[in-house]
């Protein structure tokens, strides 16, 4: 059924359709409506699972640690400072191999205070062992929540799904809400092989010595390595069930492009218009939109890259002392590849600044005209 939904509500509906059993959450702008809708659906009896109104994000994720270990399907949503406050638990949950699914509404980190979209919150959690998905539309948010449960529960690793603060979280778009029966057919109930069970008592998270700890981490690395293919596979399965397919990287008119923009999140939507305009003006322009960031989709990137297609990477994030984070990771992933393309970095839109069609076209021309620097990123601002 088609509905007009804000991104935050699309996330909640995705979780409820996934028959989530325990939600623990704490309010934070701009993610608050995700949990307000859970509360509303609880009051109306449309959501029948547990809802814990915890006193902090740290406790939200700790509660999901308990609930997921007990064998329940779990969900939460947060943003920015809240995600940073969860940091300790993020490592814990992935190390414990719990398939928790969380929505993070991308918002800049303080200081100074800022409420608007910026990817530095989620990207600074890149080493916590969570899968990371970046969405470009509200439809994609809803669909990715459902797919994430399937991927996470197969891998026993948690997933974080990002949508842009306000740009998607508060903007209403038409969304096709799948039928519950179809979702049930796509996503079987969570059935972990180990859980808190008084008839079969065990200890979870006990002290390990260096050798078993190393092997546990190695196993996690191996499972992360097979996650990219699994994301592609589940995306194809989703297409067969619902008619909308998703891969690790979306390619748009890049097959014969001499320069392709590389974007993620809602900028990926704006970029399509920029590419169309550049094409109309006679330029060979393309787009690679990253949906998956962890594990880093190296296979898809190599498949879609060509020696004669330069990449203009747009980062709404920055690692102080280095570069935009997508840019540095793309360079690292391509290093040593024969005929690797040239990669140029652009930092733009930090703290929610507009990344307009005009700005994106300007970046494209910077690379095309060889005025960009392949080592240091160019900081680009909307002229208005």
């Amino acid at each position: 059924m088609k509905k007009v939904l804000m991104g935050n509500h699309a996330a909640t509906i995705g979780a409820v359709l996934s028959r989530v059993q325990v939600v623990a959450a704490y309010p934070i702008t701009p993610a608050t409506q995700v949990i307000e809708l859970i509360a509303d659906m609880t009051a109306k009896g449309e959501y029948k699972g547990k809802f814990l109104r915890v006193e902090s994000e740290h406790s939200a994720m700790a509660a999901l640690l308990g609930a997921s270990t007990a064998g329940a399907r779990t969900f939460t949503a947060t943003s920015s400072q809240g995600l940073a406050y969860m940091h300790e638990l993020l490592h814990w949950v992935s190390g414990a191999r719990l398939p928790v699914v969380m929505v993070d509404v991308n918002r800049a980190l303080a200081a100074p205070w800022n409420l608007w979209t910026d990817q530095t919150d989620s990207l600074s959690q890149r080493d916590t062992g969570w899968l990371q998905f970046y969405c470009a539309t509200n439809q994609e948010v809803l669909d990715t929540v459902i797919m994430a449960y399937k991927v996470s529960e197969k891998l026993l690793l948690p997933s974080m799904i990002m949508l842009d603060g306000f740009t998607l979280s508060h903007v209403y778009e038409p969304v096709d809400v799948p039928d519950q029966k179809a979702v049930d057919a796509f996503l079987p109930p969570f059935a972990p092989t180990t859980r808190l069970d008084v008839d079969n008592p065990g200890a979870f998270g006990s002290l390990e010595t260096p050798k078993p700890y190393f092997r546990i981490r190695r196993r996690m690395a191996v499972d992360m390595d097979r996650a990219e293919a699994l994301v592609e596979q589940v995306g194809s399965e989703f297409e067969r069930s619902f008619g909308r397919g998703y891969g690790a990287i979306e390619s748009y008119r890049s097959q014969d492009a001499e320069v392709s923009l590389v974007c993620s999140g809602a900028v990926g939507s704006t970029a399509k218009q920029a590419i169309d305009e550049l094409r109309a003006e006679g330029h060979a322009a393309g787009l690679l939109r990253f949906r998956l960031f962890r594990p880093f989709p190296t296979q898809a990137l190599k498949r879609l890259s060509r020696p004669d297609m330069k990449l203009a990477v747009v980062d709404r994030n920055y690692s102080p002392g280095h570069q935009g984070i997508f840019c540095e990771e793309i360079k690292a992933a391509l290093y040593g590849t024969k005929g690797a393309p040239e990669v140029y970095g652009f930092v733009a839109g930090l703290g929610g600044g507009d990344i307009t069609v005009e700005l994106l076209k300007e970046m494209w021309h910077e690379v095309k005209n060889k005025t960009a620097d392949p080592v240091s990123p160019l900081w680009m601002e909307d002229a208005r």
Binding site: V54, E55, A62, A70, T74, V198, P201, A203, S206, L207
Partner: protein
Amino acid sequence: MKASIAVDELMTSGHQACQGCGATLTMRYALKGLGKQTVVCLPACCWTVLSGAAPRCSIGVPLLHAPFASAAAAASGAKAGLSARGDDKTTVMAWAGDGGTYDIGIQALSGAADRNEDIIYCCYDNEAYMNTGIQRSGGTPFGAWTMTTPGKEGSPRPKKDLDAIMEAHSIPYIATATPAYPEDMVRKFAKAKSIKGFRFIHVLSPCPPGWKSDTDDTVKLSRLAVQTGMFALYEIENGKFKLNMNVAKRKPVGEYLKPQGRFRGLTPEATSVIQADVDTRWTGYAKRQANGA
């Protein structure tokens, strides 16, 4: 002869506690009161280590380790997860030391108590960060030496009144216990198990390395704490206060303080301050007992 507490053991030998550890006695009695259908949730504390490194475990019930600040939250989630799967019977108990309760864990504890989560929270209080090697916590009493209050004067601040903080949350059950009185302790855990909502049990748990006391004095000190009035045994059920042991003639506090090396630096004046504090607290207990509230 009929045993005064359950004979079944859910805690095994082979744990990794120090000699004379009060927290092993406490866990043993707690599990006797709670029984097999129990899940224990542990933040960082002595019990993280003494339950045993993987693959060993010295208790016969499921054990969930959780970060330091999160005992009450992780236990809330475990209860919600079990309940979501249709199991409303299993008791979930958060089991934390004084550092994880008085200090770093108090936010999650207050949140869970405020929500009246259907869990038991037990603080086994050995009055300092003992697992990291004796540093002051909010549970450290006035005058006690620790590695972070190393002067002769010891801790400059009194022990935080955690029970009063918990009472302010309007929870159905609060109890205090200490291992010198096993029947009292087992009864309180069994009673807590039968109550729905947030239950808080505060156990004074002697620690020979931290208290600088003889390892065979654990039960004696636990008993002296009660007999001197330093630690009162009571229950607060739905706001109703009940002294379990009305110590009419309290021994002088010095009898409890002297055998402990951590109080070696106490001057007679400081001891009088402690005695006066105990006397004031007992005047309050007597009033509450008389009022039945």
